[in-house]
């Protein structure tokens, strides 16, 4: 078995193109890095596309119980609740993202520019609901699904697409990724196991003042041990997304609820089985009603 172990590991090799890229660092670092600090971008590579598809399927399967086509009715007619991971959102009760291993989110950039994407695991429950519409004031919803199988029945796209970290990741030959300022789904087909819904935004489209505010954090991606600072940055990124959910009932009436996104530091061991010595704090997204 030891031979198998060695031979298995021997087969793990870095592409020559990546080696060449590492060699080129010698020049790029001399030109820019030593003077001003390297601007690190963690944008995704084509190689990640296939991996991402696997991640998408994994995440989707993990969430199948929450996003299945069979949506349970709840509440009185004319009322509705919003849930995440089968837990109801309230003004005081936060539900935080748990899908850390797949589909949880992505962030790219440096201390001057940033883009991000995070999983949007919400759905509505209620009686006599026809459709559900989500709207975002700042940023966009990014929905990825196999071509022709998106749950979106109507949507309004942003004027300019937002270049966010995971848009490339989730693209693929068989998947389509589209961004929306608002999108509508049928109540009974709010999502499906093949669909990823994320919230994305990028500093490239921000006003100068907001960019300056972000830059004031001095957040470097190479130093993410500072979980408190990471939370502050995340709070800044999610504080004014302006997400709302409007349901249209079968009689044509509508009702809207505002959704707040905040952030919280939790210990990894609260979410995953982890040896005590490896435990650490992470920042997770929380959803609640405004």
């Amino acid at each position: 078995m030891e031979n198998c172990y060695k031979s298995a590991l021997e087969k793990i090799k870095l592409d020559q193109s990546e080696k060449d890229k590492a060699k080129e660092l010698f020049f790029s670092d001399q030109e820019t890095g030593r003077k001003s600090g390297r601007k690190k971008y963690c944008m995704l590579k084509p190689a990640a596309v296939f991996a991402a598809m696997a991640a998408l399927i994994l995440a989707a399967n993990a969430l199948r119980g929450y996003f299945g086509s069979e949506v349970l009715d709840a509440g009185e007619s004319g009322e509705f609740v919003i849930t995440a991971y089968a837990q109801e959102l309230t003004k005081t009760g936060q539900v935080y993202t748990k899908q850390l291993e797949a589909g949880s989110g992505g962030m790219a950039g440096n201390s001057e520019e940033i883009s991000f994407a995070f999983w949007f695991p919400l759905e509505c429950r209620g009686k006599n609901i026809d459709t559900v519409t989500y709207t975002i004031q700042n940023g966009a919803f990014q929905i990825t699904a196999p071509a022709g199988r998106s749950p979106v029945v109507a949507g309004e796209e942003p004027d300019v697409p937002i270049e966010a970290s995971s848009s490339f990741l989730l693209a693929g030959d068989q998947n389509e990724t589209r961004q929306y300022r608002s999108f509508t789904v049928d109540y009974k087909k709010q999502s499906n196991a093949e669909t990823s819904i994320e919230v994305v935004d990028a500093s490239a489209r921000w006003e100068p003042e907001k960019r300056r505010q972000y830059q004031a954090f001095g957040f470097e991606f190479s130093d993410q041990k500072n979980v408190e600072l990471e939370k502050e940055v995340c709070d800044f990124l999610t504080k004014d997304l302006g997400i709302s959910c409007t349901v249209t009932f079968l009689d044509g009436t509508t009702k809207t609820k505002e959704i707040a996104v905040s952030n919280k530091i939790v210990m990894m061991s609260q979410i995953h089985d982890l040896p005590e010595e490896e435990d650490f704090g992470i920042v997770v997204r929380c959803f609640s009603l405004q």
């Binding site: 198998c4 298995a8 087969k11 080696k19 660092l25 670092d29 797949a102 949880s104 989110g105």
Partner: protein, 163 residues
């Protein structure tokens, strides 16, 4: 003493150690793209090392291993890291037994994997591993024993084979 003073020297180091760094990173993250990024980050750290003097080749290699492991830890610590996928995103034509070993490795904690790797693949002694990873020898020894036992147990349970 040696330093990373010219391109030729640096290029040789990349050629010699890029696979090793990638192998360690991949075992820690099980994500090709992340592991590739770690390789770039480690070499960047090497270029930026404030005192890039290494006593000998072994000193350099140990430094690269330690930085790689730490870099992987940083990746794992970030919630906002990229999506990760389980073992299998690297398309390698494994033999069935090799595939089984890799699948079992995936189920081990990362520090166990690192210690197993340094012991069996890089053939470091327990004392050397302790120095590289900055852990006590007893800790390395017990994790090596436990890792080996867990791997063996997993193999016995799932494949009826012994390590």
């Amino acid at each position: 003493m040696r330093s990373i003073k010219d391109q030729e020297e640096y290029t040789k180091i990349v050629e010699r150690y890029a696979d090793m760094i990638f192998r360690i990173a991949y075992q820690n993250l099980f994500h090709t793209s992340d592991a590739q990024d770690v390789v770039q980050d480690v070499f960047l750290k090497l270029l930026r090392c404030e005192n890039p003097c290494f006593q000998d080749e072994e000193h350099l290699k140990a430094w690269l291993i330690r930085v790689t492991v730490n870099q992987c830890l940083d990746y794992r610590r970030s919630f906002f890291r990229r999506h990760t996928v389980p073992f299998g995103d690297l398309e390698i034509p494994y033999e069935p037994k090799e595939q089984a070993v890799m699948e079992e490795l995936y189920e081990l904690p990362s520090d166990y994997r690192n210690i197993l790797y340094l012991y069996y693949y890089e053939e470091y002694t327990i004392k050397e591993i302790a120095e590289i990873l900055g852990k006590k020898q007893n800790t390395v020894n017990s994790k090596l024993t436990r890792g080996r036992r867990r791997l063996k147990k997993l193999m016995e349970v799932k494949h009826g084979e012994l390590l």
